[in-house]
Amino acid sequence: MSLSTANLMETVKKQYSFKLKANIDAISSLVGIQLVAILFSLGGIGGSLSSSEGLQINFNYYSADVVLVFTMFWALVTAITITTKPYRNHDFTFVTNRLSSSLSNILFLLTGSLLGAVTANLSRYLLQLIAFLFRDQQVYSGPFDFPVFILGIVMSALYIFCVCSIGYLIGALVQVNKSFVLLVPVLIIGSIFLGESILVQLFQFYVMEPNFVFFLIKILITTALFFLASISILNRMEVRR
C-alpha cells in the first residue's frame, strides 16, 4: 500500500473545518449566552438627575458591556473545554499530532472570538432597538462611525481571544495535573484578597492603554505567550491512556 506524506498546514486546515462542524454546540452556546446577556441588559443602567427647580430627568443607559463580559466568560469556558480528554481524543481518531491539534484549536477559538465580538458589538443596536420599540422613552444613540465600529469589533475580538488563551493554558495545566483545578482558582481569588494592586495594575496595563498600537502589541504578545506555553505543555501529553 502506498505511503502518504503528511503536511502540517494541510492537516491543520482539515482539522479546523472538522472542528467547526464538530464543535457546533460551542457556537450555539455562544448564541445562548449572548441572548441571556441581552436579557440582563434590557433594564439598562438606570439613573436620574434632579435639579432644585424641581426638574427631574430619568435616564437608562443601554450598553453591550454585559454581553461582552458574558462572551469572555464563554471564551474562557470553551477554551478550557476543548483541552479536555474527549476533545483531544476526537483528534486522535483521525490524522493529527499534538501541534496540529493545538493549532486547529486556536484557529477555532479565533473564529469563535471574532464571531462573538461581531455579535456582541451588534447587540448594542439590538438593545437600542428593543428600548425604542417597547419602552416609552426617547432613545438617543451616539453617531454611527464605521471605523470606530470596526475598531470596537477588533478590540473586543482581541480581548475575547486573549481570554481564550488564558482558558487554554488553564485547561492544559489541568490536563497535566488535576491539582490545578484547585490551584488556579485559589491563585486568582487569593490575588484579589492579598494584592489588590496586582489586579488593578493588570487592568491598567491592558484595559487603560490609550494607544491602540501599544494595546495591540501588549495583547497579542500576551495571547501568543499563553498559547505557546499551552502548546509546549500539551505537546508532551500522552493520549487515550
Partner: protein, 300 residues
C-alpha cells in the same frame, strides 16, 4: 521490508513495568495477531505503535520513524478499538465524510456498502450506538481507511458471532485486494486462525513467541493415556499443561520435539497423541500454572 521495529522497548506506568525490553520486527503486509492474557500490555504496545503513548525506554520505529507525536505515522496508520472517540455533534454519515477528508486512501464507496450491509442509519449518532454496534462502526472506519498500518485492538468487543465472522471475512477480502500491515489483538484466536499469518505472543511484558500461525499449530502435542505410560515422556521436558482425567489417566501438553520413532514408541505404549489447537496452546503458554483453574480447587 520491516515496517515496525522494536528494540528493547519498555513502558512503565508509575514504576509498574508493563512492557519489559521487548524486541521484534513486523514485516510489511503481514497480518499479525497480538495475543496475550488480560493486562499483559497488548494495548500499551499497540498504542505506542500508533503514537498515542510514549515509550519509557528502548526504541520503536514505525515506517522508519519514531511514532510518538508524528504526523507521518498518524496519516499512515489507524488505531481502532471500542474507545474510539467521535464528536457527538456529528451524524454517522458525517463521520464517514470526516474520515474521508483525513485518510488519503479512504474508499467511500466501500465504506458506504459496509455501512448499508450492517444496517446503519446515516442520521444516527455515534454515542447512541450499542456496544456491538459501536465496534462494528469503528471497524468499518478501520477497514475503509486503508491505512498502510492498520491496528485493531480487540475490534470484536460486543459484536455477536455473525458480525464477528462478517468482520473477519470483510477484513480478509479487503486485505487481499489492498494488502497492508495489520495488527489485531483479540481473545478470539480460534476465530482468527484463518486470517492470521503470524502470532506475537506476549507474556509478562515480554515477547514469548513470534512465529507463523502454521508453526504454532504444530508447536506442541498432547499426550493422553495412563499416567504411568505418559509421564516418562515428559521427563526432562517442559510440561506446558497437565490435567488429570479420571483416576489414572492424564493429559499433558509438551513441545513437539519428539522424533517419529519416539512418537511410534509412545503410541505402542498406549499413549494417544493429539495435535493442540493454537488457541488452547496460547492459553497454556500464557498461563502461570500447569493445571489452569483446576489448581485452585485441588489440595485445599
Amino acid at each position: 521490508m520491516s515496517v515496525i521495529e522494536c528494540r528493547e522497548l519498555s513502558k512503565a506506568y508509575l514504576r509498574k513495568k508493563v512492557l519489559n525490553q521487548i524486541s521484534f520486527t513486523i514485516e510489511e503486509n503481514k497480518i499479525t495477531g497480538v495475543i496475550g492474557r488480560n493486562g499483559v500490555g497488548k494495548t500499551t504496545l499497540l498504542k505506542i505503535m500508533a503514537g498515542f503513548t510514549k515509550e519509557t525506554s528502548g526504541e520503536i520505529r514505525v515506517l522508519e520513524q519514531r511514532p510518538f507525536n508524528n504526523l507521518y505515522t498518524s496519516v499512515n496508520s489507524i488505531f481502532v478499538d471500542d474507545q474510539m472517540s467521535f464528536p457527538p455533534a456529528l451524524q454517522l454519515q458525517e463521520l464517514l465524510e470526516a474520515a474521508q477528508t483525513f485518510y488519503p486512501n479512504w474508499d467511500m464507496d466501500f465504506a458506504q456498502r459496509l455501512f448499508k450491509y450492517f444496517n446503519f442509519d446515516p442520521k444516527h449518532y455515534h454515542n447512541t450506538l450499542s456496544k456491538g454496534r459501536t465496534s462494528t462502526f469503528n471497524a468499518i472506519v478501520g477497514i475503509a481507511a486503508r491505512c498502510p498500518i492498520t491496528i485493531f485492538d480487540e475490534p470484536t468487543t460486543g459484536m455477536d458471532e455473525a458480525v464477528r465472522k462478517d468482520f473477519y471475512r470483510a477484513l480478509l477480502k479487503d486485505y487481499i485486494d489492498h494488502p497492508r500491515t495489520i495488527l489485531i489483538s483479540s481473545h478470539h484466536l480460534e476465530e482468527m486462525e484463518d486470517l492470521l499469518e503470524d502470532v506475537l505472543l506476549l507474556k509478562n511484558g515480554k515477547v514469548h513467541l513470534h512465529i507463523p500461525i502454521s508453526d504454532l499449530k504444530e508447536w506442541a502435542i498432547g499426550l493422553q493415556g495412563q499416567a504411568s505410560s505418559v509421564l516418562p515422556w515428559t521427563e526432562g521436558k517442559e510440561v506446558l499443561y497437565q490435567n488429570q482425567i479420571g483416576l489414572n489417566a492424564t493429559y499433558v501438553v509438551i513441545k513437539n520435539d519428539l522424533s517419529e520413532a519416539e512418537l511410534a514408541q509412545a503410541r505402542l505404549n498406549g499413549v494417544k497423541i493429539t495435535p493442540v489447537h493454537a488457541s488452547d496452546l496460547c492459553i497454556y503458554l500464557t498461563s502461570d500454572t500447569k493445571g489452569g483453574i483446576d489448581d485452585v480447587f485441588i489440595n485445599r
